[in-house]
Subunit: 336 residues, 2 copies
Amino acid sequence: MANRLLAHKGVGRDDVEAAAWWLRDRVVDTPLVRSATLDQIAGVRLWLKAENLQTGGSYKFRGALRAVDQIAKQGGHRGVIAQSTGNHALAVAMAAERYGLTATTVLPVDAPASKVASIEGCGGRVELAGTTAEERLEVVERLRAASGDAVLDAYDHPDVIAGQGSATWELVEEAGRRGTRLDAVVVPVGGGGGVAGACLAVQGSGTAVYGVEPVGCDSLGQSLAAGRRISVPPAPTLADGLRPSLVGRLPFEIVRDRIAGVVRVDDGDIGRAVFLGLFHTKLLLEPSGAAGLAGALRLAASGSFTDIGVVLTGGNAEAAVIARLVAEHGAKGATS
Amino acid sequence: MANRLLAHKGVGRDDVEAAAWWLRDRVVDTPLVRSATLDQIAGVRLWLKAENLQTGGSYKFRGALRAVDQIAKQGGHRGVIAQSTGNHALAVAMAAERYGLTATTVLPVDAPASKVASIEGCGGRVELAGTTAEERLEVVERLRAASGDAVLDAYDHPDVIAGQGSATWELVEEAGRRGTRLDAVVVPVGGGGGVAGACLAVQGSGTAVYGVEPVGCDSLGQSLAAGRRISVPPAPTLADGLRPSLVGRLPFEIVRDRIAGVVRVDDGDIGRAVFLGLFHTKLLLEPSGAAGLAGALRLAASGSFTDIGVVLTGGNAEAAVIARLVAEHGAKGATS
């Protein structure tokens, strides 16, 4: 209970470290991947945390498991409810399954079919509602009122932020074990939970954190410029996971004074990153999961960095998208 | 020198274990990957050793590094020569680069362009010659006579066998650490070095080893049936790495009394395994590297197994092949 009260007041580096240690034997120990060819292309050394190999295919499982554990420990709930563009909902469904809780998830009507199938595959219920977070949140509220289940926010939640931050914590630690202090860590931004966790994870280490947002989905970038949260109706993007129109309250509080900057990437950058990731690291990344690599390649071009860490956040890609991107970028030449 | 003499007389389980320990800090510690969805499809638990994430994109680097180290220690050679359909040659070029030796490699004229580019990218020289191992071996002999460089056979070599066997050794060890004794390990068969190493690695453990060969490229299967090595002019196959027409002498000596059987897979099986591997493990496998998974799915269908280990041997796939397979199998439904 104390932890819970504390958590609602905020979340700090210690919470990220505690989450990392707690998660150590409960999630996949994802590898830190290097590629000499990618390093050549980037002109820097890239340290790639392969969270596409995480349970549920994305780093969202870290935050979901940490948060569902707290809910289960509190007791009083038969199930959990979560809304997201896909990966957080899937992660919550998988975490709930471990604890014998029901999971009801709300996804946009254009959610990738594979994510819906995966949630149903681990016993979760799926409701499809609209295309914006606001529309999904209305359904969540209706479901909560009817069931009394606990609602697990996708990013505006201290346990979720601490759990997702553990991916960056491990990335920095493992690079350190290999003798490298990272200049920067790059994390894609949807609602901001992952990048907030990253900012906490690196606190005091001298490593800079950069967020990556698709062009036209830059709520964090615009919010940082304005000094307050700005809602951005999401433009179409390959990165379906990075479409939340408004960065979370708590994530914004955390990152506003800690983040080094936001890099904007377009569909061309993202598609190229999916392709390069696939053929040079041998890892399948979904577009949102490759956005960090796309951002890192842009950052690297500035010439200001030597070692850049990237959280490859997820790999739940659609076959049709991958077939198209591989055909398109393959035709341009395998190493471009 | 003693080790070298012993090695030429043969290779045993101790050599595989020694290679595994020696390689531990010198190669990528590749993860053992699980997929609940793949387990459901297979009807068994699959334990997948992701050697597509190995240096050079395949497990061949293990044998190449172990063998090049021995050559470097012996001294007297300025460089090494290797022929293969691609991955062994690339592995030798990368290993030679570490030791400051030159590498001259001989590949078939239809070798994937990406493998040629990768060899040249790490300073190796590439000669293209014919389409069969016999044609390449003629060129190797000419090169050796002219340069005096050491020839490093792709499979008929004790250090190569021991090094490649270390992948299976690690697979069995890691499954054991997670409380599972594997019923079987499945390894794709080209010239037989990997499967020979696997047979040695599991010796005395009760785990059965199965080789996998493409239909029409089943030199090992036919040799086992005949009780002597049988040359098989390779039929066309997606698995370009599994086309050697004749299993090696030493590999055959090792496996003939130790192997549990050979599974034959066709291009449909292999293409499906590439697709399933990509979307359920998030790993890019080249067709030869997915052949083990294809064979494991066939074995699993027999109903005789509970836990099957698979060496996912490599991930150096061509973009055009992947685009085609993903489009083809994606249209059939993502989980089929």
